[in-house]
Assembly symmetry: C2
Homo-oligomer: 245 residues x 2
């Protein structure tokens, strides 16, 4: 475990000490892949390690307990509750449910809303259509082990995929929905990965705490002929996911 220098030096950072301690402990737990049930150092030891007051450490632990990462038992100690990151595979053949497979996890999709709209210049460029062309936008969520795992926005050209919202709602799978439109297979053409902070709505939907960091993946899927099918943006909670390229 790496000890952060003098955490008190950075009071002017705008990030509370208890929050930075929580982030670091979470990293130790999730990053080191500690087993469920394993015991953490005592509050006193953690306080010493971070050169902080025990109250401050307790504030950090309270947050992690709230997140379900740890569980405290009076007189016994603090124990790891859920440690694993979810792996998500990105490659030429990127499918949501397949990306999670082999991890003994339960995956579920949900359609939050859908709308008809017109292509912005960015989406138009990605889908290789004219700006302003009619689109269908799907807002979806995925749950892993019943916990919110990702929020995605999908854009499809309406000319070719009119009715895809209903198809997705019925099957809760993009792959299955696309097969209804004659797309037997598709491949991931490109993916752009960035980081940003969660906005208010995302904090609520993904069950995060304010200031949480998201991993954002923006991708374009193409069919067998190389024609763009889908432009999508997926946001993952930064501390729950590991992308495998």
């Amino acid at each position: 475990m790496t000890v952060v220098g003098n955490m008190r030096e950075s009071k002017l950072a705008g990030v509370a000490l208890w929050r930075r301690i929580a982030d670091e402990i979470r990293l130790d737990i999730v990053g080191a892949r500690l087993a469920r049930g394993q015991r953490l150092p005592t509050e006193a030891k953690l306080a010493e390690r971070f050169s902080a007051n025990r109250h401050t450490v307790r504030r950090a632990l309270a947050m992690l307990a709230q997140e379900g990462v740890i569980r405290a038992e009076q007189g016994r100690g603090v124990f790891v509750q859920d440690a694993r990151r979810v792996f998500y595979r990105i490659g030429p053949r990127t499918r949501f449910s397949e990306g999670i497979d082999g991890q003994d996890r339960q995956v579920r999709g949900a359609l939050m809303s859908h709308a008809q709209e017109h292509a912005s210049s960015e989406v138009a460029k990605g889908l290789d259509i004219k700006p302003g062309a009619p689109l269908i936008r799907l807002e979806t969520m995925a749950f892993v082990d019943e916990a919110p795992f990702s929020r995605s926005t999908h854009w499809f050209a309406r000319e070719r995929f009119d009715g895809i919202a209903e198809a997705y709602a019925a099957r809760l799978s993009i792959t299955a929905a696309l097969q209804g439109f004659g797309v037997e297979t598709y491949t991931r053409h490109s993916t752009r990965i960035t980081i940003r902070h969660a906005e208010a709505e995302e904090i609520i939907q993904l069950g995060l705490s304010p200031g949480a960091v998201l991993l954002r993946a923006e991708g374009i899927d193409i069919d067998a002929e190389g024609k763009p099918i889908q432009f999508l943006v997926t946001r993952f909670p930064g501390d729950r996911v590991e992308l495998l390229v």
Copy 2:
């Protein structure tokens, strides 16, 4: 531009309002790729947009000015100083300098330190060698337009690449250094991408502010025969980089 709901609701988040405002403005600038020299809304307008006091907005702007993202001119306004994200390409053929090319950027590498050590179980697994086998570890940095852009740690099996630290120091290129060992070409076997918070040392080396978020890419390079050559971990400042897969 997206407005965060009621930012005042999250006082218990452990992240100061001025910090969240700074993060959001930075995102608008960097993410929306505003042009250098473009003017930001007045402090009064920003205060209204974030439902915050002008003092609080000024605090946020002070941080961004400190980072070099914006520049305030008395009586004229606040202007974008440096806006673009650096794109970094990850694929079968991942080379550092090539990853940045075509972006009109100046790239420079540096060797911070090197050491001999023995393989941890994780590195051993990645390099397909025995745990405890002798290794050479390189700690490098890369600068883009003279600003710190990434911190990497490279591991090579000492048996095959003894002297690679000196070779790297002479050429400041992993690709060139490897050619001295008869490796004409190599490919990226796998990459794992995660997020974490910067530690004290990384904050100093990369010129970040406390609480900054890093994008961490862990990769394995293999030679033409499929034998692992290099195990490496690269940390990028989250708000300066965009990974293209």
